[in-house]
Symmetry: C2
Subunit: 324 residues, 2 copies
């Protein structure tokens, strides 16, 4: 993780939000609000990391970096309406603070702004950058739709689940690296290897999130432990447990899934007990490790300076153990 990169990104985001028009306030205030709430800025950091592998001119990748962050925040804005989420990063979501119509429209404007920034990338790389960006943008929509469909679906398989998190989360991390690489002048083969690294590490991140929800340290995790269990969210852990449990354990699991909000604490320990009996954590960690290893193989095959590649690896490793 390069702190200079993060500084550049925050600076560029500040310039961007300062330069936004004042009016119509209901269109632009939510964008300023969303972009200034903060966040890890993981995607723009990946854009700059991708670029720095192939060029010392990081500036050329800055618009795309902020563009990707804007796009990501646009998807959160719309997801929060669909999921009726009242809070994001500890602050009221846009649709709660203003209203759903304002959240829809300012989200649309963020998408348009993200494209405007993306188009400021080096012109010779623009066709490939746009291809990568639009492919990821469509896939993120597909992933969100699958996620919503899963809520209504009685049975979700592990391959379906992996595909959903790949689309909803991993491809944008992958595209961030790939777009950064193109901004830095990379060949397609190297950019694609970086993409594969990002795609696989992204799936590993999401599996880690599923594990941390149940087994994370509440102090470090930052979210309520067991939130996925309370809401019956079809995570890797729950899907695996539903597939593998039978007899008494299956009955136990299904009973806990019926439990109301007043039984939340007991429900979390009850479901966790089922997971433990089935060794679900170990299976999830093995799956996560599988994607992590493939990611690292892809990374090492990229034709770039080894020290710089090690930097990206260290960034990924720091994120992989971040809150355990």
């Amino acid at each position: 993780m390069n702190s200079l990169h993060l500084e550049l990104i925050e600076e560029e985001i500040k310039t961007f939000t300062n330069d936004l028009p004042q009016s119509p306030a209901h269109l632009y205030d939510p964008i300023r609000y969303t972009m200034n709430i903060g966040g890890k800025r993981m995607r723009p950091v990946l854009v700059l990391s991708g670029a720095s592998l192939f060029s010392d001119d990081i500036q050329a990748a800055l618009p795309a970096a902020v563009g990707i962050e804007l796009f990501h925040n646009f998807t959160l804005l719309h997801d929060d309406i669909m999921d009726m989420a009242p809070l994001r990063r500890g602050q009221p979501t846009v649709y709660k603070k203003w209203n759903p119509n304002i959240a829809i429209l300012s989200g649309d404007a963020m998408f348009a702004e993200s494209l405007r920034l993306m188009a400021k990338s080096p012109h010779n790389a623009l066709p490939r950058i746009l291809e990568s960006f639009t492919k990821a943008a469509l896939e993120v929509c597909e992933g969100q739709q699958m996620d919503m469909d899963f809520e209504q679906q009685a049975c979700v398989t592990i391959p379906e689940y992996i595909r959903m998190i790949e689309l909803k989360t991993a491809v944008l991390l992958a595209a961030s690296l790939e777009i950064g690489a193109y901004c830095g002048g990379a060949y397609s083969t190297d950019a694609h290897k970086l993409y594969e690294f990002g795609r696989n590490i992204g799936i590993a991140f999401q599996l880690q999130d599923d594990i941390l929800d149940v087994y994370g340290d509440p102090e470090k995790f930052g979210k309520q432990v067991g939130g996925d269990i309370v809401s019956n969210k079809k995570t890797y852990l729950l899907i695996s447990a539903l597939q593998q449990a039978d007899g008494y354990l299956k009955e136990e699991l299904l009973n806990w899934m019926q439990a109301g909000a007043d039984q939340a604490v007991d429900k979390v320990s009850g479901v966790k007990e089922v997971y433990n009996r089935l060794h679900i954590r170990e299976q999830a960690e093995a799956e996560m490790k599988k994607y992590y290893d493939v990611a690292m193989q892809s990374l090492l095959s990229v034709g770039a300076d080894e020290k710089k590649l090690a930097g990206i690896r260290a960034f990924a490793d720091a994120l992989m153990v971040r809150e355990q």
Copy 2:
């Protein structure tokens, strides 16, 4: 109006919808549905018209043409949620036929698809095309926000209203011509003159719509005459009347604006009577003519074949008198 252009566009739209993935069905079915409902395809026709002024290779502009139509339909999808409109082109709107979440997300995917098509434009013109597209996309959002703000606002001025219709409607028509011109290899000066033609003719179109709502032939207009009056929509006519009426007429107008849905027929004739007394129709027609004339001046200054320019003029003229 070139019927060959329209055929090419319909063919390309058919190919596009056929090539869309089947799954997730809730994401892609609404896109197929929306694009196959029809419509005048005015924006893609303008893209091809713009291109044909500068090049015989219309094919190069086809992806951008369909991209603009997709973008336009995406804005309608989201507008219909915000306006709670049950019908569009006589068919149930996406948020009614499916639900608001599906309309939000499939709209987002349409925006991404529109960009994917736009990026297939000739690479040397891509930076200018994207600049034009993203500027228009942002302005359309601004226009929609202004339109929503006006509903809550006690007083709207004529310049504010003109600015709103410019942003919400005219700039995308203008950008369609400009993007088409760039696809055809036009210089910026000519593309910009075409943009100015589109912007001014677009404002004239919208003023005509306001007039037709009250004075149009119900047979030809295709919409319920007086719909704007019934809903107290702040059109050019109502804003002008509110500004100019005083004494008894003002009282009369304000009273009619309080009338309920059960008095719709009387309300339409009552408000129309006020308009007639104030000669609002003549004023609106004079304003429309002003923008029309500026549009034609811009068109004639474009450095392109006169016969082809006459074709664009004929297309605009046909639209200007289409339902009177």
